[in-house]
Symmetry: C2
């Protein structure tokens, strides 16, 4: 009934206790020691065993429920979710995703300009009149084959961008280094077919299917930092996500 579940708590660590608990449980789920469908110890027991308060345990479990790893039911207990269901779609960049997947992304900068914002971009980014933007297009490849064509606009009052750094690093990486803390993004995913130019750049047939994505990202001060319009080869990329009922 009750799985032992050994979690180490380090009270001197700067990382919050509830997060240590969450990581511990998540780790046990991912390495298989907590199989899907298993019922966890109840909150009170776990709290006593780890010498933590119930609110702390609950906060940890709340987070795991939110990311779709656990389900709770009053009067019954907390269960590990079936293994096919995995991770929540997070605010991450293509570059990061590829690096995590061990692919080795490379980037070609196709165009770069520093210009006053066109009206529709000024609107999308809610820009003050005197702020200009960087506008550039990049080709992202993984494992040597082209994957995505990305067009972006970034306001110029937050970070200074140039051709060489964009070749070498992901955009989100550069922005984070410049002190930007992303909070939210609004994203739209659809489909289209490749026109001549896109087909040529992506090394695909004209008329082949592409996944389209438009995104606007907001930092912790509420500024719209970046907006972009990307297309991905449909045979090489799709968006995966876990939805959680609230």
């Amino acid at each position: 009934m009750s799985t032992p579940l050994s979690i180490k708590i380090d009270r001197s660590s700067p990382i919050p206790l509830y997060h240590q608990v969450a990581q511990g449980i998540e780790g046990a789920i991912r390495d298989g020691s907590l199989a899907s469908g298993t019922r966890l110890e109840n909150e009170i027991e776990l709290a006593q065993r780890l010498r933590l308060s119930r609110p702390t345990i609950r906060k940890a479990m709340d987070d795991l429920v939110q990311s779709g790893l656990l389900v709770r039911k009053r009067g019954v207990g907390t269960q590990v979710v079936s293994s096919q269901i995995r991770r929540h779609l997070e605010l991450s960049s293509l570059n990061d995703d590829l690096e995590r997947a061990g692919k080795k992304p490379s980037t070609t900068l196709l165009s770069f300009e520093h210009i006053p914002a066109p009206p529709e971009i000024q609107d999308l980014l809610s820009l003050p009149k005197d702020v200009s933007v960087y506008h550039f297009t990049r080709l992202r490849s993984a494992g040597g084959s082209p994957l995505a064509l990305m067009e972006n606009w970034v306001r110029d009052d937050i970070v200074e961008l140039d051709e060489t750094s964009l070749q070498a690093h992901g955009l989100y990486e550069l922005l984070r280094e410049a002190g930007v803390n992303f909070r939210l993004a609004q994203q739209r995913i659809g489909a289209t077919t490749a026109d001549e130019a896109q087909a040529k750049t992506l090394d695909a047939a004209a008329g082949s299917a592409l996944v389209t994505m438009q995104r606007t990202a907001v930092d912790d001060t509420g500024r719209n930092v970046e907006t972009g319009s990307h297309v991905y080869r449909a045979d090489a990329y799709s968006f995966e996500m876990t939805l959680v009922q609230r």
Copy 2:
């Protein structure tokens, strides 16, 4: 500096206090009385004014931060997010979405069978050996024009389905009426081009772009209730979502 923000709390209501607060704030944001960028009262003050405890207020705000309506920053306060960003992608059905948008969806049942589960479906739904499935395809139209082609498999030990009810009602509606409480869904979105048959059914050109979506949904007991593979006309449908940094 501090916006007044009048929220009515009904302590005799069965709906939790924190949720009443969240609804109150969300309402004020949506009807414009809390403009985007506004700083809210601090948690302690708001708690005192509404005669609630700080944890209750915090829980309400946590939920709104999760749904992307608010951003918090230690030492600064809590702000309403810029107005373009809104609404988390929720676990909802196409039918519900269309009805909410006032479109008047209609459904044509193209095929229907009640069969033993094929191996890959048995795997996707983690079915016991003796459970069979309903397998059916539907065409969903909105405002008279075809929009989506949907193929679904539903395990037969939870709900009894028949042709007539599927013509008249959405699948999720039928499942909810049968007492199914959805908790999670795993979803993958991509793109493809329409083959002859799809083009004909959807009243589109062969080779035109389609958005693809595969989904498996889990209920509160951890069972995989339903899996499906859908295609949407790309010129009429796209997926919109707000991502929140955790």
